[in-house]
């Protein structure tokens, strides 16, 4: 049986940051998987292609850009939609991310709604019903 629910993967060494994503996507019909390091994420990504991957840059062991380069070498990850989310706001990092096919490059911190907007923008899922002021679009 095929699971039709999109899978969103986050690789970020901050447990709190992973929680932030998790809270943000809770109202959406998605599977959410968080990994705290590239080393933890790599075996999973060798086997699975998520619908969207959020990637931090400064992490222990391997930085997010090196990890993305390694990921792109896997045939099934060549076109995986990737968003870099980082506190490294440098033109050189933006350039490298673009060369590696990242869709977006956003700077921490992100609000719940900003994460949801990115997920909806880059997958086919719809925004949840607007039931709070925080969720309402401007």
């Amino acid at each position: 049986m095929t699971d039709q629910v999109p899978t969103i993967v986050v690789v970020d060494d901050s447990a709190t940051s992973i929680s932030l994503y998790q809270f943000s996507v809770e109202p959406l019909a998605v599977n959410f998987i968080g990994f705290k390091s590239p080393a933890e994420a790599f075996p999973y990504l060798q086997e699975h292609q998520p619908e969207l991957l959020f990637l931090d840059i400064i992490m222990p062991g391997m930085d997010g850009l090196t990890f993305l380069r390694r990921l792109r070498a896997l045939p099934h990850q060549k076109d995986t939609p990737v968003i870099m989310v980082t506190s490294k706001d440098y033109a050189q990092d933006r350039y490298i991310a673009k060369q590696l096919g990242a869709l977006d490059f956003v700077i921490k911190p992100l609000r719940f709604k900003e994460i949801r907007d990115l997920v909806c923008k880059h997958t086919n899922i719809k925004q949840p019903e607007q039931n709070s002021e925080q969720n309402s679009k401007p």
Partner: protein, 308 residues
């Protein structure tokens, strides 16, 4: 067993960005990043800025050691521009091991050789007649002679490492280019937009990021760190990948560092200005009631590793 050989750290290049060979700058020094660690006749060199040129010349004047390992933080010019003039690399009989950010040995070689080719330089790396080895780390760790070297990623454009080096029971941390407190300032900028739940999580994330950054340098005997800017210059150059010296001093004191060396200083700052920054740094240490020693990393300065 006692030895009469001095085990030391020596600063050969302390400037950031570009060389500053001006008369007004020479008490601190004008060469770009290069620090030598010599322990038990093993030589580990942090970065290959122009400071590696006089280091190479001094190595040619001795006969005892014929091997060095160079660890590069990254490939910006001020960290590699001395390599084309590093004489031991051109001499048969020498062994030069080189490590830096990169996925493969070929990638490290490509990044090094990129600056030694037409039309930028008259000879290519093929003229390096020494035995050149490009190294790969094993689980972010490299071992060379008495040195155990762990690398960590820092806030600077592109892939850039800091190094935590253990030798003879001492810890030396070298982070030449690192923009501290960047996330703090980004969060501060957005504080007013966040609701209470977001603020709680983002505040916790900020604490977590800071704890992790502190772990890499915790209790270092020697901490060599980016102190490029005054607060005024940092406010104009935020996001350039370098630290304000005040952030560096506070960060080092928070981490329980024993000796801090203000490094990668701005090439526009003359000796008097850097000595002013040093005085201000010592004042911060005093106000914090910290026992940390704070020094200017001056070209030629030697630190006795066994006396740390």
């Amino acid at each position: 067993m006692s030895s009469d050989t001095l085990n030391y750290l020596r600063f050969w290049g302390v400037r950031g960005s570009y060389p500053a060979p001006f008369g007004s700058h020479l008490r601190v020094g004008g060469n770009t990043s290069c620090v030598e660690l010599r322990v038990d006749n093993h030589i580990l060199i942090c970065d290959g800025g122009t400071g590696i040129i006089p280091l190479g010349n001094s190595l040619m004047a001795q006969k005892e050691i014929k091997e060095v390992t160079i660890i590069l933080t990254h490939y910006h010019w001020d960290h590699i521009s001395g390599l084309p003039f590093f004489v031991p690399a051109f001499v048969p009989g020498w062994k030069v091991n080189i490590f830096g950010p990169g996925d493969t040995m070929e990638e490290i070689e490509r990044r090094i050789s990129g600056q030694m080719m037409d039309p930028y330089f008259p000879v290519e790396v093929e003229t390096w007649l020494a035995d050149i080895h490009y190294l790969m780390a094993n689980n972010s760790r490299l071992d060379y002679g008495p040195f155990s070297i762990d690398m960590f990623n820092v806030h600077h454009p592109g892939s850039t490492f800091g190094y935590r080096i253990q030798v003879h029971g001492k810890t030396i941390v070298y982070a030449s280019d690192n923009e501290l407190s960047f996330i703090d300032k980004t969060i501060e900028d957005r504080k007013g937009e966040l609701d209470s739940q977001e603020w709680q999580l983002i505040n916790a994330m900020q604490q977590e990021e800071r704890s992790k950054a502190l772990e890499s340098i915790e209790n270092a005997h020697v901490f060599v760190h980016d102190a490029q800017y005054t607060p005024e210059d940092y406010s104009k150059k935020r996001g350039w990948g370098h630290s304000c010296f005040i952030d560096t001093v506070n960060f080092a004191a928070d981490a329980g560092v024993k000796q801090l060396y203000l490094f990668h200083v701005d090439p526009n700052y003359n000796d008097m200005k850097i000595e002013d920054l040093h005085r201000a740094s010592v004042k911060i240490v005093h106000q914090r009631d910290s026992s940390m020693e704070c020094h200017i990393a001056r070209e030629g300065l030697i630190v006795d590793i066994d006396k740390l």
